[in-house]
Symmetry: C2
Subunit: 428 residues, 2 copies
């Protein structure tokens, strides 16, 4: 289903490259490309269907390799116009795939087999830049002039920054009583930053109301009415990992789960590369990672359920704290189909994993990175993840945004400014 | 002087690629490569002399373009072994050169002529990753096992991260009473983090003492005994800017001044590219940027002095707050020789410039980036910088590390979660 050849049903005024139509993930119903996200037949989620029929594998690979050092090198595989790299956008991606031999030693993985895909190198230091950059191109194609979202963290910064660069108005909605630091990170880009008197659910409810109202005309909510386009940005993680491994599939990938969308799109990206002949087909396993304090998918996986029972989140991994993840059932499918698993770790294990990753590889991860590294350790200890196989662990954010998680870290010694004091402290 | 062909005086056990010797910037005295930084004849600063005699311009350009997307693409021009990219290091560089058309409009620069070199995309989000990565390779070549520095900010993180990745012990010295947030950013990498009872001057004095003592054996202080190597890392900014402009020199570059080293090495890098035939020779102007509260070089420039009179720093741009900049006189030389200038802006202008850059280009800069953007604006208003010429402005750090500077930024509106309240606030 991921790679489809279709008669074009595209609105002729919309140029989004190889994107041919929107297709319902549940019933397959197709509609022309537009700012819609739910199937009119069955209310299932819409996703992009592509026409990749003209591609020759060797030519495509060369074209990608000659492209820019950002996600637009994959423009032929994304819902964007061919000249996307020339337009003002935040240009995320092509982040480092770090060979993590020190961490491998610590976790008992074979040397040369463990990699961290470090998305803290993106412009606003989280993977959200990938999906927002993608949503912005859709917004441009549909003639929207305001880019919007509800958020309490990474997404707010990504939307603010991308809108500023591209000359869009931005309007980000947040609960009115958010911590001052988070407000500053969202406010600095100069767009509208609107505090809503209420909690995060109230914010989301209000946004849905706004989309259905004439007041919301011309507004692109990146993860609502632009969601099918937005979500495709996560495919670029799969593309980059394979290209950086020398056009090979990894054996195992550990992906954080918030809504679950990222994990499903990584699988979609890998499937596309196989079908296009850019990588050799072989089995791979996808593992999902959650914090125990928000582990609805992990709980469902372990119980053998096909549906996900919502939870009320209570974890320091706030960027993953979605209690009712929309793509949960699809995540369960993929983990089971590929022979992977979904696992969770405690907040204490998250903090410990952040420190282990920083100490071994010099990568200061957000709490979400602590979740994936912590889950990787647990999966190895439980014999679920094979430490002899090529394994890629995602770090999707930056520790500077969640300093509180490691606030206990501090000086290892205090001395007077002389050599005697230095020697006494045992530092020589 | 920048590009020299020499008979090798290199210690035969040290492979640092094209680096042939250390040469005194003042008297030209040459010594073999080693962990020394001051001339034994005249106490002048030592810098790297290269043997670039074997290079053919066209071949070199192709070799660089085929290299990795980090500073090691320039390995043939740096004091590193040819296989440097295969060794564990932090691998900074190849950061975005952002065409800043929105900022250009705001500052009155011609469209397509203004660029931001955004070094916040480096692994620990400042340009310090470039110089530390370089110092680390020298430390490896000299058999050091501990990487060290004194720092109150960016350098601490860069040293901690690079040492962790490369398997060095690290020991970072800071004043014992630093703010908790800065301590956490330095401590998370798990090396020794030693608080010194005293102020920053006491810390530096102690480090000098340690280098001269047996207790400091095997210790590489990145910006003291490894300084000649460390400093060369800044050349990569010049290389990247030219390559990203299509192998062309910019007409004007605006560079922040702390010690002044970065500015002098950018000039050295540009001169090398000209002499190697990688760019066409043409005049360029280098402008230095300081905060008014620490403006010793700017004051000397305006007064027509050749020497720099030390100041006691008092500015929010703490990463630039060096009151007695070692390379100040060389900066004055370069600014005058190239027809550039040195200018300073108030803290208020720094904050305003941070906001302008974020609002127009979606780049959240550290205070140092506010200094360069603020100075660029002032130089244009004063008719010193030509708004019709290709101009590159450096952003060397990340706003997440200096959140306090923009702490006043906040919500643009607060509303109740309904459309009436939304309309009343004039947001539609």
């Amino acid at each position: 289903m991921a790679v489809q050849t279709v008669a074009s049903t595209t609105d002729s005024t919309v140029d989004l490259g190889p994107a041919a139509a929107l297709s319902c993930r549940e019933c397959g119903h197709r509609v022309p490309l537009g700012p819609v996200f739910a199937c009119e037949e069955c209310f299932g989620p819409l996703e992009i269907a592509y026409d990749f029929s003209a591609y020759d594998a060797e030519e495509l690979r060369k074209r990608i390799e000659a492209g820019p050092a950002n996600i637009w090198r994959y423009a032929p595989l994304l819902p964007v116009p061919a000249d996307v790299a020339t337009k003002p956008n935040i240009n995320p991606g092509w982040t480092q795939l770090v060979k993590a031999d020190n961490l491998a030693r610590e976790l008992g993985v074979d040397a040369g087999k463990l990699f961290i895909k470090d998305d803290s190198g993106n412009p606003t230091h989280s993977f959200k830049d990938r999906v927002v950059a993608q949503a912005l191109e859709a917004a441009r194609a549909f003639g929207f002039t305001t880019l919007s979202c509800s958020s309490t963290g990474n997404l707010a910064g990504a939307v603010g920054a991308a809108a500023a660069r591209a000359g869009f108005r931005s309007c980000v909605f947040i609960p009115h009583d958010l911590e001052q630091g988070k407000v500053v990170m969202a406010a600095v880009y100069g767009g509208e930053l609107v505090g809503i008197e209420g909690n995060y659910d109230d914010v989301n409810r209000f946004c849905s109301e706004l989309i259905g109202d004439p007041a919301g005309e011309g507004w692109g909510f990146v993860n609502v009415n632009l969601r099918p386009y937005y979500a495709e940005g996560s495919k670029t993680l799969a593309y980059e990992i394979c290209e950086q491994l020398g056009w090979q599939l990894p054996d195992q990938i550990v992906v954080p789960i918030a809504s679950g969308s990222q994990l499903t799109k990584i699988d979609k990206g890998l499937q596309e590369l196989i079908k296009l002949g850019l990588v050799e087909d072989k089995p791979y396993k996808i593992f999902g990672a959650q914090a125990e304090g928000c582990s609805p998918v992990s709980v469902a996986f372990k119980a053998g359920h096909d549906v996900v029972r919502p939870q009320k989140p209570n974890t320091i991994a706030k960027s993953l704290a979605i209690g009712n993840p929309a793509d949960g059932p699809y995540v369960l499918d993929i983990a089971r189909r590929t022979g992977g698993a979904v696992e969770d770790v405690t907040d204490e294990q998250v903090v410990d994993a952040i420190k282990v990753l920083a100490r071994t590889e010099g990568i200061f991860a957000e709490t979400a990175g602590g979740v994936t590294v912590g889950v990787t350790r647990k999966l190895i200890e439980n014999g679920v993840l094979d430490p002899t196989k090529t394994t890629v662990v995602l770090n999707t954010g930056d520790g500077l945004k969640t300093l509180d998680a490691v606030a206990g870290t501090g000086l290892t010694a205090t001395i007077r400014p002389n050599l005697d004091s230095f020697r006494e402290a045992g530092l020589a």
